[in-house]
Every structure is written in structure tokens, then in C-alpha cells.
């Protein structure tokens, strides 16, 4: 599978994603500069975490209008997959590729910690190797990760099973205490209606080898690899 890791000025998780895809998963990977719009060679594009363009104005606001992001709708329409983590999730919401917005954490603190995630939907190309109800462990590292959407959007997200990950306790209970940032419904990650764009605040690339303290993040990539069928297209939802 062919991955592109998008780099904006201020991105910081690009090297980690590049390492995990190339060295841990042995897949083809190269960096994609934020001005690049030629995306035809890729099966999956990754928008990593960081502080794109300094996150001035709002987190992900400027990156959400950058040339590479403006080329994403066409990339997705022709069957490409997009994974945005942390700042990447903020960018995908700012670009309206995903509904809702990510706001300042309710506690007003930057949160850098391990979290547990309940898999809500194991029928997307990003979660196919998991099972619904499974608990994953992945770190978060953000100051603006509180997911917000209006009531109509929240209802649609639930109806179409677009909520993929929710913050939970180690034993899988979705509680207020397990919610690190005040996200509505403890939302940690969502997909678009087609299931081809995933945005999540946690960092799968930081949970990819036992030396990192866990390998649950790799399951997202195993899911993607398992969803790619012989003709080069992906099994959808």
C-alpha cells in the first residue's frame, strides 16, 4: 500500500508516522509537502499532529485551506483514504471533510497522557481488524480536542454510526472521568458517511511498538491493509 504523510510548516508527528508506516509496517511511504496537489499515486494520506502554520486564528484553520487539503475532496472521491490524527483531525473539521469542530479543552489544560478508547464501529476500513466494544490504549497530546457539533449533526453521527472511538475507562465504561477534554459523548474519533475519512485526537503512531508502551495504534493500519482488495480499491463500510 502507498502512503503519503502530509507536512505543513509546524507539523510534528510526520517523522513518527513515516517511521511506523515504513519501518514497522514495511509499506511504501513518502512525505507530501503542503503545496503539493498531485496525489494520484497514494492509497492513503495521513495528516499528522502538530501546530500547522502555528495554529494561528484557530487550530487547523489555515491548513484547512491549504493547496494539499483543497485537493483532498477529489482524492477521496476517487477512492483514497484519509487519516487525520490530532492536528490532522482539527484540519479535517476546518476543511469540512468531517462535521463539527474541535475546541479548547474544557479543563483549559494541555493534556498529554494515555487514554483508553472504546471501539464503537468496527466496520470501517480503519477499524476492520478490531471488534466493536474492544478497548484500545493510545496517547493523546493536545490543548484543543473537545469535540463539538450541534444537535442535528450529533444525531446524524449516531444514526450513521460515524462515531468510531470514544474515551472510556480501562474496562470500557464511557464515563465523565474518562473524558480528558470535555468532548461531546466522549468522542475521540469519527469518520465521514462513507467511512473513508477518519479523524481522531489520539496518536496511533505513538502506540506502534512495544517499546512505546503499546501497539494498539497499529491496528488502524492493519485494518487499512486488510481492507485493500486486489483491484486496488478499498472495502467500504
Amino acid at each position: 500500500m502507498n502512503f503519503g504523510v502530509v507536512v505543513f510548516p509546524g507539523t510534528w508527528s510526520d517523522c513518527d508516522f513515516h517511521y511506523v508506516v515504513g519501518e514497522v509496517l514495511h509499506q511504501q511511504v513518502r512525505y507530501v509537502w503542503h503545496r503539493d496537489t498531485e496525489l494520484g499515486e497514494f492509497d492513503c494520506l495521513i495528516l499528522p499532529g502538530g501546530f500547522s502554520y502555528g495554529d494561528y486564528l484557530r487550530a487547523g484553520a489555515v491548513a484547512g485551506r491549504s493547496p494539499v487539503v483543497e485537493a483532498l475532496p477529489e482524492f477521496v472521491a476517487r477512492g483514497g483514504m484519509v487519516l487525520g490524527s490530532c492536528n490532522g483531525f482539527q484540519i479535517l473539521c476546518e476543511a469540512k471533510l468531517l462535521p463539527g469542530a474541535l475546541m479548547r479543552n474544557e479543563c483549559l489544560q494541555y493534556r498529554c497522557q494515555s487514554t483508553h478508547l472504546l471501539v464503537e464501529n468496527a466496520e470501517t476500513p480503519f477499524t476492520r481488524a478490531m471488534r466493536t466494544g474492544q478497548v484500545l490504549k493510545m496517547p493523546i497530546s493536545h490543548g484543543e480536542g473537545k469535540y463539538y457539533a450541534d444537535q442535528d449533526t450529533m444525531r446524524r453521527l449516531r444514526e450513521k454510526s460515524q462515531v468510531v472511538f470514544r474515551y472510556c475507562t480501562e474496562d470500557g465504561r464511557v464515563t465523565r472521568e474518562a473524558n480528558p477534554n470535555g468532548s461531546m459523548d466522549n468522542i475521540a474519533g469519527i469518520v465521514n458517511e462513507e467511512g473513508t475519512v477518519l479523524g481522531m485526537m489520539p496518536h496511533p503512531e505513538r502506540a506502534a511498538e512495544s517499546a512505546m508502551g503499546g501497539t494498539d495504534g497499529v491496528q488502524i493500519f492493519h485494518s487499512l491493509l486488510g481492507s485493500l482488495v486486489e483491484d486496488g480499491t478499498f472495502l467500504k463500510r
Partner: protein, 80 residues
């Protein structure tokens, strides 16, 4: 030409920053403060447009970049 854009969180949205500032003001001896909402001011300088055009152009800027319609409202003031 100068213009001022005010970007604010929608009234329906909890403003955690504002709540924190309100608590701090209480602690400093200002118990009369009932609510604080934190917003942004953007002062723009424009050239080569009329006041009418400037207003329309800035509305477009707000729609495309300066405000996030999911969580924010904005007002535009063309100062001339």
C-alpha cells in the same frame, strides 16, 4: 480603509475561557461580574475597494477563513 471584525463563540456554546476569567475576577474582588465571553478582534487594512465592497469582501473572508460557522458568530464594522 480600516475595518474591524469581531469573532465570538455562539451564545449557545459554553465558553470555558470566559468562565475561567469570570472566576478569576471573582477572586480579585469583582463579584458583580455575571458572565464573561472571550472573543477575537481582527483589525484589517484594505486598499482599492469602496466601503460597500469592503463589507462584502470581509463577509466572504469570514465565511472562508476568519470565523468557523460551526462554533462562531462574527460582526463586521467598516471604519472608513
Amino acid at each position: 480603509m480600516k475595518a474591524r471584525v469581531l469573532v465570538r463563540l455562539k451564545q449557545s456554546i459554553l465558553d470555558a475561557q470566559g468562565a475561567s476569567v469570570k472566576r478569576a475576577l471573582e477572586g480579585l474582588g469583582f463579584p458583580e461580574v455575571q458572565d464573561v465571553r472571550v472573543g477575537k478582534v481582527l483589525d484589517l487594512e484594505l486598499a482599492g475597494v469602496s466601503a460597500d465592497q469592503a463589507g462584502k469582501r470581509i463577509e466572504e473572508m469570514c465565511g472562508r477563513l476568519l470565523a468557523n460557522p460551526v462554533i462562531e458568530d462574527f460582526t463586521v464594522e467598516v471604519l472608513g
